[in-house]
């Protein structure tokens, strides 16, 4: 019986080893697929910076459904006269105290050395009227990365602030108090 069992072990061992090796190989492959994917996304966020572009996190739903809250858009610099109605541009809105806004161009007209724009969020009914020097640059949205900026949007909410600031602070405080307590106990032990 013992001999038979050993023979069975001998025949089973290579196949189970092969399965294990296959699973390990598949796991490694998947890991590198995810790593490659993540690296490409990270590069997409970083490379535009070298060309004066910038990734922007969308904080409101004014461009829904084209761009939603929490999406990250890549905005690249463009001459105002190269913009066409229908393009999505990022600009500092003078009516909102210079706040950076990403909306769609509805109308544009050159007047002297300036280009006058009328923009509107796709989900909005009101428009923004602003102008920019024709020699300056504005940003045009070239890419949208859905939901990538969700953590940042969450961080700006009250709950997000609570989770990301207060909870770590409380944890740190608790740990610090615990260590002080521990030190005191050790000192007492030594003196005793």
């Amino acid at each position: 019986m013992t001999t038979l069992a050993r023979a069975a072990d001998f025949t089973m061992a290579p196949s189970s080893g092969r399965v294990r090796s296959l699973v390990r190989g598949a796991g490694s492959f998947l890991f590198w697929v995810v790593a490659g994917f993540a690296a490409a996304i990270a590069l997409t966020l970083v490379v535009p910076l070298a060309f004066h572009g910038r990734p922007l996190t969308v904080m409101s739903g004014s461009m829904t459904p084209a761009i939603r809250t929490g999406d990250v858009v890549i905005a690249m610099p463009i001459a105002p006269l190269a913009v066409r109605p229908g393009d999505i541009v990022s600009f500092n809105d003078p009516s909102r105290g210079g706040k950076l806004v990403t909306h769609r161009v509805r109308h544009m007209r050159r007047e002297g050395g300036h280009v006058n724009f009328i923009t509107r969020g796709d989900a909005n009914t009101g428009v923004e009227k602003w102008s920019v020097n024709a020699d300056h640059k504005i940003s045009r949205t070239v890419l949208r990365l859905p939901k990538l900026g969700r953590p940042l949007v969450f961080a700006r909410t009250r709950t997000g602030l609570l989770v990301l600031v207060l909870v770590p602070m409380l944890l740190l405080g608790t740990l610090e108090i615990a260590s002080i307590w521990k030190d005191d106990e050790e000192t007492e032990d030594v003196t005793a």
Partner: protein, 196 residues
């Protein structure tokens, strides 16, 4: 010469394990490169679909339908039930459905009038209103500003579905580019006398 058996077992596998790790790394390398390449290709194709192409400069019209509701009725959704974006001549009609509930004690006939915020766009954009497959109106939005639609009858406590379709006819050449109209649909309910 190794005197202790345990020590001997400890020493020998160390060299073997190191060799195995190196061999494994080498044998895994093509797999890793293939995985990395697959991840990069996957991301590149996704990014290709997520790009925002430059506009061709021809911006369509946007039409939003909101409602003005009398006390005899309640509607859902309450804000707007159609936001037609980028309407261009010959493009497919965009539609939305408004659920209208009769909260009176008798059946009502509901007629609709359109109050557009942009008259120029209202002259070129067409709208069709229908309920239960029956067309109540099919005309320009501007024409519906002047004349009410045909009736939509709703029984006591029942909900009627008002379907609106908006489009710009192929023949239109101008008056729609980059325009936006908020069209308020003014619902008028008439309680039908003598029927319960």
């Amino acid at each position: 010469m190794v005197g202790d058996g345990d020590l001997g077992e400890t020493v020998v596998p160390v060299a073997t394990t190191g060799y195995n790790v190196m061999t494994k790394m080498r044998s895994n390398l093509p797999l890793r490169i293939a995985g990395l390449a697959a991840g990069l290709v996957l991301a590149a194709s996704l990014l290709y679909f997520l790009r925002v192409p430059a506009s061709d400069g021809k911006l369509g019209a946007d039409v939003r339908l909101v409602t003005l509701v009398p006390g005899e009725l309640t509607v859902t959704p309450k804000d707007f039930f159609l936001f037609a974006r980028g309407l261009k001549p010959g493009s497919a009609p965009q539609s939305g459905v408004l659920k209208v509930r009769n909260i009176t004690t008798g059946p009502v006939d509901v007629r609709v009038k359109a109050l557009p915020s942009d008259r120029e766009l209202a002259r070129v954009a067409d709208m069709e209103l229908s309920s239960g497959g029956r067309v109540m109106a099919s005309t320009t939005i501007d024409a519906l500003r002047r004349h009410r639609s045909g009736p939509m009858r709703i029984a006591v406590g029942k909900v009627g579905a008002l379907r609106a379709r908006v489009w710009i006819p192929r023949s239109v050449k101008s008056g729609y580019q980059a325009r936006f109209a908020d069209v308020t649909l003014d619902l008028r309910a008439t309680v039908i006398k003598g029927s319960r």
